[in-house]
Amino acid sequence: MPEILWIVIEASVKALALVAGIQLMAALNVYLERKISAFAQGRIGPNRVGPFGTLQPFADVFKLFMKEDIVPKNADKFFHALAPVLSLSIAIAVWAVIPFSSYIQIGDRIIYLGIAPDINIGLLYILAMTSVGVYGITLAGWSSNNKYSLLGGLRSAAQMISYELSMGLALVGVVLITGSLAMNDIVNDQVNNWGGWRWNIFIQPVGFIIFLIASFAETNRAPFDLPEAEPELVGGFNTEYSGMKFGMFFLAEYANMTTSAVLIVLIYLGGWALPVPPETLGLEQGSILLAAAHFGVFFAKVLLLLFFFIWVRWSIPRFRYDQLMNLGWKVLLPLALLNVLVTALGVIFLK
């Protein structure tokens, strides 16, 4: 079989699995969100559809499919339809460079779990894609021809641009230490040193906090959910959306949430690092068992972070707009710059 054909088949199988996986993760997020919010409020939450209500998200999506798709009379029909597609496709596109586990070796062929985790522009690609994500929301707000939607879209654009700076600068610290933009290198750097405990959170605590806050803002999650602030903007950019178009925004939001959790785990929380070196467990590098163990650790960390995301949403009230901008420009940006400076000096003098 020619090499190029093999690559195409491998990539498309991985892509299909990924898209299905992201949808399932979104469903899991919806379920977790509803359950955790219920528990935090002294309720029980969904428990009717399926065992413990686990099929609730599918029922929700089915309901959205059945709903009438309403387009406002004066809306720009093309962009109104394009915006949710853009949001969702960009949310999924980020996953092209994300690795899920260490590689599997079959014969002399190395299979990475992830479409292109070894690509040398990984981090740049992720930052670029998350910045493009704002287009979906802004377009949705503008094309609806509704002042609340437009305000929501504008807020989203302002918020994302403000926090993207600190997000990128926080990552610069990690890049300086690792010396690579590839996701695999960043993770392996944490896994292979200090017996799997050289997590970037320990050497970049400030960067971690900045990145965490910025990713809350990037995903439009509470306490930074100003673009869809229900009390002020009647739903913000998705006011004029109904049916599956709204469903796609919904999916995109949860896919983004998963992306952020995965990124935080990969970049700061040691990725798939096992608590003990794999040699003590008798697992060989490149074996399927070790890859599965790595994936399990990685997935557990992602779930914990998702819980944290939801937990924060149901605990902390929304920021006021001026507080949001103050935090972004006057606190996080100088801190991120300082962090880059200190990290650079540290790299020069300690390495």
Binding site: F39, A40, G42, R43, I44, W311, S315, I316
Partner: protein
């Protein structure tokens, strides 16, 4: 008075300005809340049994000898929502009058209980029935067949009413 002095930065101390300890406290509060017992009632399985004082669907009391109602029409007269319609008939029995037609339109009823209060025979009382679902507007008009309830099922309410006689 200079109100501009009382700014956020002057009211809060250093740790409050950092926000992070306060956020952690807030998170701790919600986490503790997650493990507390829940008070949700699992409704269709676990039904709520009202007290005698509950004013549910008005019903006619049915004894072994027949209904108590003598079709005086007071309930119909007092009903503020004009929900009750009574037509009287006569029989040869000891209780000479009875309603040939007794209808309550449940879409009009406001559950005020005036009909029960005004009834001289204690023949119409408010039941504990709170599950009122109709498929059509015609279903909501309850005739005698639907209204008559055996007296044994209404003991709680009759006892409650007797306290105030």
């Amino acid at each position: 008075m200079n109100n501009t002095k009382n700014t956020e930065s002057e009211r809060m101390n250093f740790w409050e300005k950092l926000y992070i300890p306060e956020i952690a406290r807030g998170l701790g509060l919600t986490l503790a809340e997650m493990f507390k017992p829940k008070f949700t009632r699992q409704y269709p399985e676990e039904r709520w049994e009202p007290e005698g004082s509950y004013r549910g669907r008005p019903v006619l009391v049915n004894e072994e000898s027949g209904e108590r109602c003598v079709a005086c029409g007071l309930c119909s007269r007092v009903c503020p929502a004009l929900a009750i319609e009574v037509q009287a008939g006569e029989t040869e029995r000891e209780k000479e009058r009875f309603p040939t037609k007794f209808e309550i339109n449940m879409l009009r009823c406001i559950y005020c209980g005036f009909c029960e209060e005004v009834c001289p025979e204690e023949a119409i009382v408010m039941s504990k029935d709170y599950e009122l679902v109709f498929q059509s507007q015609d279903d909501a008009i309850m005739d005698k067949e639907k209204l008559l309830v055996p007296v044994a099922q209404l003991q709680d309410r009759l006892e409650f009413l007797r306290q105030y006689r």
